[in-house]
């Protein structure tokens, strides 16, 4: 269209839109004028006035239809129509508040659940870091091939140099690590802040700008030197300094070093991980240092692929680990390169990625169920509005208009449900993340809650999309049937509308599909619940009940080794004396606390055969307290304190280091211990049964227990006190506190929990999946039951006349009831036919995602099927009873 055409027609269209009432009046006037003129002409030709008036109306063919066609000629009609549809839908929905509430709640549940899970998925797995070109970022990890975790981002100085100098695939190599720093200052409370040590190119290479001051650059961190400066995050600036511009140049103390704050990072940047929030960055001096502590990120060159980078770096890394003086264990390391655009791998994202996938599938099924439910509801309502639709069709509404009207209703419902759902989802996501984080302290990082639960644009778009889809899906069937109204037949059989066969079948199909989905949900819930109980009843190698764990903080105790040894023994003696306590002991770690120290161990005879073992320093009576049996040998005793270093090992260690020989009296050497650099040799005095350590699902690792009191070990901050009780552990807690305070008065108690609580906190994701999927399954079953009940009740009501006839002809009440029950059972069985394969397929997928899932038996599916049949029968009971009680006389007169 030419521009001037547009200019001319736009005012016309706008006028159509806004002055609709006036335009309508004019249309009316115009047609009336026409009728008058034509009447005059006929009269002039000799017709009688009445005849003439009748003829002109016949000629026109129907004033309303003509008006409608004229309105149709104005092409902005669809907006007017839409607004009209909206008004009407609102009125209709307001008139039936019960239906509207149920529908909105059903949809809110389905949509809200999906939004909540997607919010977390988006935050953890899909969200891009606020840096330049996140797609190019990769992180480097090293790992041992037989280890389950993805690996560790930490490299030695040699490795770093080799990677830096030997690569042709990276345009930038960024050094950065994640640490906790203790920070204090003038107006700053002493506090622990999570942050990072970064190389000079960190900020530049990531493309992060400063919100104030300047950021750490190459001049602050190079070979052998790091400037005493620091950069803080925007939220740190806001919460601790109130956005005071005077923060630049402020002096604070990090660790024991005074540093000056030189800048604030841009708003929204919290380091290379989205969920682990870094608040402070300090420069590190890039120089030779022991250990594998340099964390590496890199940017791929523009046309280099990840595969190319992996291939080249594998070779470079191989050369590093195969250097002549490398430890044999180091030689087994392999390099991994993973995309880091969504943030580097953190323990939280590892822990949650599988549960979130499972939950997304579950809530997806729930949404489908809700849709089927609502579609059934709308279909039933549509049947009762056939009369209305017929009248509309007679008045000239085109089919498309009827379709649009019905769709608008269902879209409106789903949009309202969407809004309600978003609110619910916000709180649900918060609660979920809090529960996840309440689990065992996730080593390495504080969880950045806002990041994970803030609905950003992606989430809102997703929610809107599923709301629209839901509305269309639910409304499609009723809309189709509304548009196919045959005005004639519909108006005649106003109340005794026989339903078309296809509509009946479709309604039944909807119920069957609800049953199928509910079956799938229930069987998967059964699976997870079974898994959880399996985890809870595992043989742990120690006795989990009646065990109280107390964490003590020795960091500022001021004790030396001898004092610690004496005081700890005194405490144990006094604890033993408390009524209800059977024994007490000390150790560095408790079994399910988390990963602890590890080291390479080898026996004197086979020094080349190195096993990676977990190390836990324990005091005498440890195994007695925990209930781990000795197989051979003895426990530590007071005599050992003055003797040569001794240790107790578990079965796996013995097998790995000594084969089938008796390990008692033999010697085992630990190397690369971080506490005592170098090697240390112990005499093995005892062999204990394997016990689970750190992870319930994995087999017990090789574990070595050196004597705690011998080492004078107060190295790490926390130590564990374990108390076995004869009574409920809670009962002795206060007595324990008092005793501890009396004996170790400079040592605060960090926390007290029972062993069962600790185990539970280590399996939070599994517990959550089990609980949530059970909850969703229950809701799904409820929805399916409501759907079934609704359809049966409706059918009975519609067929009351027919039932009356049957009864009048001699059918017994029980016959009628049997018909209804048979109907119900047919639908449930049809649902099984679809649902059972779905459930089995789901089981296989779940098994591939979660290792060790016990998928052997069909028990969950069978139990679910039984529940569904029971549910179906209950749902059918009331309508069946109503059908049975139909009085033929009343029914025959029923209109």
């Amino acid at each position: 269209m030419r521009p001037e055409h547009w200019l001319y027609t736009i005012p016309l269209r706008l006028r159509s839109l806004f002055r609709r009432a006036q335009a309508d009046q004019q249309l009316d006037d115009e047609l009336r004028d026409h009728l008058e003129r034509k009447t005059e002409e006929y009269v002039a030709k000799g017709m009688s006035p009445q005849e003439a008036r009748r003829r002109v109306r016949l000629d026109l063919g129907g004033i309303e239809q003509t008006k409608e066609k004229c309105r149709g000629a104005r092409r902005v009609n669809w907006i007017q129509d839409f607004v009209q549809d909206l008004h009407f839908s609102l009125r209709v929905l307001r008139k039936s508040p019960g239906f509207t509430t149920v529908a909105v709640l059903t949809l809110a549940l389905g949509i809200g659940a999906n939004t909540a899970i997607f919010t977390m998925t988006n935050g953890l797995m899909l969200h891009r870091l606020p840096v330049r070109d996140p797609g190019q970022l990769v992180e480097l990890l090293h790992h041992y091939p037989d280890e389950p975790e993805p690996g560790f981002n930490g490299f030695s100085w040699d490795a770093y140099q080799a990677i830096r100098d030997g690569n042709h695939v990276f345009s930038d190599l960024i050094v950065g690590s994640m640490n906790f720093f203790s920070v204090r200052g003038d107006n700053l409370q002493p506090q622990t802040v999570f942050g990072g040590g970064v190389g000079g190119t960190f900020f530049q290479a990531l493309g992060v700008r400063a919100a104030a001051g300047r950021l750490i650059g190459p001049e602050d961190a190079h070979m052998g030197y790091h400037a005493p400066v620091a950069v803080v995050s925007w939220s740190f600036w806001k919460s601790r300094f109130d956005l005071d511009p005077g923060v630049i140049g402020k002096k604070i103390v990090v660790g024991d070093t005074p540093v000056t704050i030189i800048g604030v990072a841009q708003h929204g940047f919290y380091g290379p991980s989205y969920e682990a929030q870094q608040d402070i960055w300090l420069p590190i001096s890039l120089g030779p240092s022991p250990g594998w502590g340099f964390g590496l990120l890199a940017r791929l060159k523009p046309r280099v692929s990840l595969e190319q980078a992996r291939a080249e770096m594998a070779v470079v890394f191989q050369a590093v680990v195969n250097s002549p003086d490398a430890d044999p264990f180091v030689r087994r390391m392999k390099l991994r390169i993973e995309p880091a655009g969504n943030g580097v791998t953190t323990p939280l994202s590892q822990m949650l990625s599988t549960p979130l996938t499972v939950l997304m599938a579950t809530v997806g099924l729930l949404l489908l169920l809700a849709c089927a439910n609502l579609a059934g509801l709308l279909l039933a309502r549509g049947a009762s509005r056939q009369h209305e639709m017929a009248v509309r069709a007679c008045l000239g509404a085109p089919r498309a208009r009827l379709l649009r009207q019905t769709l608008t209703e269902s879209l409106l419902l789903s949009l309202v449900g969407c809004v309600v759902g978003i609110f619910g989802a916000y709180f649900a996501a918060h609660a979920l993340i809090r529960v996840f984080a309440s689990g065992r302290f996730i080593m390495g990082a504080p969880v950045h809650f806002e990041a994970l639960t803030n609905p950003d644009a992606h989430v809102l778009l997703f929610t809107l999309a599923i709301a629209l889809l839901t509305g269309l899906l639910c409304g499609a069937a009723p809309a189709m049937s509304a548009s196919k109204t045959e005005p004639g037949s519909a108006l005649q059989q106003a109340s005794r509308i026989g339903e078309s066969k296809s509509r009946r079948l479709f309604g039944k199909g909807l119920v069957a599909s609800q049953v199928a989905l509910s079956l799938a949900l229930m069987s998967s819930a059964g699976l997870f619940v079974e898994y959880l109980s399996h985890l809870r009843n595992l043989n742990l190698g120690f006795e989990r009940n009646n065990l109280l764990l107390v964490t003590l903080d020795f960091a500022h105790s001021g004790y030396n080794a001898a004092q610690f040894s004496r005081l700890s023994q005194e405490l144990v003696t006094r604890l033993d004396a408390i009524p209800g306590v059977s024994s007490a002991t000390f150790s560095a770690m408790s079994p399910m606390e988390g990963p602890g120290a590890a080291s390479f161990a080898f026996s004197e005879d086979h020094p080349e055969k190195r096993t990676q073992a977990s190390i836990n320093y324990v005091a005498p009576a440890y195994f007695e307290t925990y209930g781990t049996p000795f197989l051979v040998g003895r426990d530590f005793s007071a005599r050992d304190q003055t003797g040569s270093p001794v240790a107790i090992i578990n079965e796996t260690t013995a097998r790995d280091c000594f084969g089938n020989e008796n390990p008692i009296g033999r010697h085992i050497t630990l190397s690369h211990i971080t506490l005592t650099k170098g090697e240390k040799t112990y005499e093995v005095v005892g062999l204990v049964r394997d016990a689970k350590y750190n992870d319930l699902q994995q087999a017990a690792p090789p574990t070595i227990y050196p004597d705690l009191l011998q080492q004078g070990f107060i190295g790490s901050q926390h130590s564990q006190l374990a108390i076995r009780t004869r009574i409920d552990p809670g009962g002795v807690a206060s007595a324990v506190r008092q005793t501890e305070a009396a004996v170790l008065n400079t040592v605060p108690i960090v926390r007290i929990m029972t062993m069962n609580e600790q185990i539970d906190s280590s399996i939070v994701p599994q517990r959550l999946i089990a609980t949530l999927s059970a909850g969703f399954a229950a809701l799904g079953a409820l929805l399916a039951a409501i759907g079934l009940y609704g359809l049966l009740a409706y059918t009975v009501a519609r067929r009351t006349h027919e039932i009356g006839v049957r009864v009048a002809l001699g059918a017994a009440g029980t016959d009628v009831m049997r018909v209804v029950l048979r109907d119900a059972l047919w639908m449930v069985c049809a649902g099984f036919a679809i649902g059972a394969p779905l459930a089995f397929w789901g089981k296989r997928i779940a098994a591939s995602l979660i290792p060790d899932l016990p998928v052997a038996g069909p028990l969950p599916v069978v139990v679910a099927a039984a529940i569904m049949i029971a549910v179906g029968l209950i749902a059918a009971y009331l309508p069946a009873r109503r059908a049975m009680r139909v009085d033929p006389m009343v029914a025959l007169r029923y209109e």
Partner: protein, 111 residues
């Protein structure tokens, strides 16, 4: 008598535009004129006339004005616009080509 219903919608538009090119008139007058000029051959049904007129107005080819007529009665008078004149020429051209092509085919000598 060829009923206007047999005419393709585009042809009806063209005829209406031409009638209005003769001068501004209201809807009733347009249909009378058309009938008269074509010798009763082309008759637009009332139910098709007004939707067609409204469509032409929406396209901007005709414009409407409410005028008080000779008997003191208010009526809507349509007149052709400049755009409409251009559209009329275009359609008349293509109609001309179409009809001469059909004539040529019909006049072919059968052997």
């Amino acid at each position: 008598m060829s009923k206007p219903a047999d005419l393709v919608q585009g042809t009806l538009d063209m005829l209406l535009l031409k009638i209005l090119a003769l001068g501004p008139m209201n809807g009733f007058a347009v249909s009378q004129r058309l009938k008269q000029v074509s010798g009763d051959v082309l008759q637009v049904s009332d139910g098709s006339l007004y939707p067609a007129l409204h469509k032409l107005e929406q396209e901007g080819w005709i414009t409407a004005e409410w005028k008080t007529s000779e008997y003191g009665r208010r009526a809507k008078y349509y007149s052709l616009t400049r755009l409409g004149r251009g559209q009329l020429e275009k359609e008349a051209d293509s109609w001309g080509r179409l009809s001469s092509a059909i004539s040529r085919v019909i006049k072919l000598k059968e052997t």
